[in-house]
């Protein structure tokens, strides 16, 4: 559950502290805000309400509504404002309530934030973090359930983070905040209550370093965000079926740690890529291509991709349930692949 660099902070007894993923994110923000007065948070209902998911509860009490700022429902407007603020001495953290609403900020993020540094010949910088959500299964229907991180991953100039555990969430958030580039931080709504080990000491996890969440020999499950949990669940089922699965979490889709992915598959010679976005023209396509290219001669069958079904997410529970990858799906796919060869 840790990168080599992080081992040291994981070992001591202090590491036994448990936080939810939501708490881990809040703690990262609070610690960084104490350290750096340039950090401000802005978004809809982030202050007294602490966001609709209550992730930021208490921050406005500690830092004041001057630093934890409620905005109008103007995603493009306050994102643009945050970009300008980031260029001129502040370090804004922007909250976009549902990942579906990033559709409203694509111009600001892709045409402005992502390009300012390059277009200015390296002179202006945009140290901005955008926090938003992804993930279905909440019966929220088509406009509140998408996982659109592939859009941002496609745009040079942006970095894209997808934490899968409380430990990672805190360490990655610290790096995101300290980064001088626009970083988008996608949080799976269904994981906010997930508990995990988070040491009390200060640590940061570098962006661009994948993590082997579980070692195995027979098949590599590359998974992102909450799909890491799904993959870990499937790995347990596979273990019972006598199959040893390695679970690799890229943690950031950009920068992408190709080497760790490829090395794992060189070892196992089979791979499934699991991501909650649409598989078509999505993250699974890139990760599968990187593996297929890097581990070509080691693969004994095609890389399998599992993502959201290519349909708008339906409201009705029995319909929604078949659109998202499950442990059972991953288990069956993996077992099939391990049997076949």
């Amino acid at each position: 559950m840790s990168t080599p660099e992080m081992k040291s902070v994981m070992e001591p007894a202090a590491a036994q502290r448990e936080l939810t993923l939501g708490e881990a994110i809040k703690e990262a923000l609070a610690e960084e805000m104490r350290r750096d007065p340039r950090i401000v948070i802005m978004g809809e209902d982030v202050a007294e309400a602490g966001t609709v998911f209550k992730v930021l509860s208490g921050l406005s009490a500690e830092f004041g509504t001057d630093r934890v700022i409620d905005t109008p429902i103007s995603e493009a407007g306050f994102t643009g404002l945050a970009i300008g603020a980031a260029m001129t001495g502040l370090r804004p953290v922007v909250d976009i309530m549902f990942g579906d609403f990033i559709a409203l900020v694509m111009d600001q993020m892709a045409n402005q934030a992502a390009k300012v540094h390059y277009m200015s010949g390296g002179k202006w910088k945009v140290p901005l973090v955008m926090r938003t959500t992804l993930g279905a299964s909440r019966r929220s229907a088509a406009q509140h359930s998408q996982s659109l991180h592939a859009w941002f991953s496609h745009v040079p100039g942006l970095k894209v983070v997808l934490p899968s555990t409380p430990f990672d969430a805190k360490g990655l958030m610290k790096s995101a905040i300290r980064d001088d580039n626009p970083v988008i931080f996608f949080e799976d709504k269904m994981m906010y209550k997930l508990k995990g080990n988070v040491p009390a000491e200060d640590y940061a996890i570098p962006l661009g370093v994948a993590d082997i969440k579980r070692s195995g020999d027979d098949i590599t499950l590359v998974a992102t965000s909450s799909m890491v949990q799904v993959a870990l669940g499937a790995a347990k089922m596979l273990e019972d079926a006598g199959i040893s699965a390695e679970v690799v979490d890229p943690r950031t889709t950009w920068p992408l740690d190709e080497e760790t992915l490829v090395e794992s598959v060189k070892k196992t010679s089979r791979a499934i890529v699991i991501d909650e976005g649409y598989a078509r023209y999505g993250v699974t396509a890139e990760l599968a291509s990187v593996i297929a290219e890097g581990a070509f001669h080691y693969l004994d069958q095609p890389v399998k991709r599992i993502g959201a079904m290519h349909v708008p997410i339906p409201f009705s529970p029995p319909l929604e349930d078949v659109t998202v990858p499950t442990e059972q799906m991953v288990f069956e796919a993996a077992r099939g692949m391990c049997r076949r060869s």
Binding site: I73, R138, F315, L319
Partner: protein
Amino acid sequence: MANTKTSVSKQSSSSPDSGPDAYIQMYRKMAGIRLFEERVNDLYTRALMPGLAHLYIGEEAVAVGICSTLRSDDYITSTHRGHGHCLAKGAAPDRMFAELLGKEAGYCRGKGGSMHIADPDTGNLGANAIVGGSTGIATGAAFSAKRLGNGRVSVCFFGEGALGQGVLYESMNLAQLWKLPVIYVCENNTYNEYTHYSETTAGDVLGRPRAFGILAERVDGQDVRAVHAAAQRLVDRARAGEGPAFLLCDTYRYRGHHVGDVSREYYRSKQEEQKWMSERDPIGLFSDWLIAEHRATAAQLQSISAEIQSAMDAAVQFALSAPYPDPSEVQQDVYA
């Protein structure tokens, strides 16, 4: 460039179309929405309804006052808080409940749910879960109506939170440039989720449409007769080809932003809620008036409520026992 029309003609709040029957009809609709939403609350708190439920309770006079001036082939677009608009425009409670429960018999075969009720038969272009997301759509329906010469008008319902979305201004500019028969109905229920609208809304709301040359009026959104009268004028005007209008309705949501929003003290006081409910309840005010004006007796109104209650019982029962769509339907209707 068009002139800015800022004058608001003060008319009597009773309108020619609203004879006694029409008023009873409006009462029936308002009570229907209230009781529908109570059932939604009940279904939700009993964990029988999946997803989120944003109740319209307290705002009934707006949807009913407006939709009672519309033809059944006129268009509306609605919001996340859309049950009232859909019912006022003619949706049947049983298929509404079915949709809210994700059943095949629902208006959208369960695919849309509470925030996406849509129905061509009643001119309902769809509720929308993107704040401000339907302002273009409503404007486009008005564009078609004008182009096709079918005399329809289009009503765009939205909360005051949508005043934060730029696309509203883009749409209003287009509507006024092209003199489209669209009415923008801003339901100012005082809160954008958990934030008071004064913290998100600079300047003067009516000044915004007026800056685009759009006739804009403000009305007491708890007075269904006033809403109806104002809407009648604006709808008639739009239908006559005189262009778009904007109606600001002051109102209040009695319940939480959604059913789960129960501890509200940190953003609004119980007294404030109590004051609206006891002094400005749209159904209470209207029934008092109906009785005082001898247009109905208390007993008549009670029997209407009782009638609706049993209709709601049946509708809920229908929805609860209706089957879910088959999982194989999931890939249907992605493409036409």
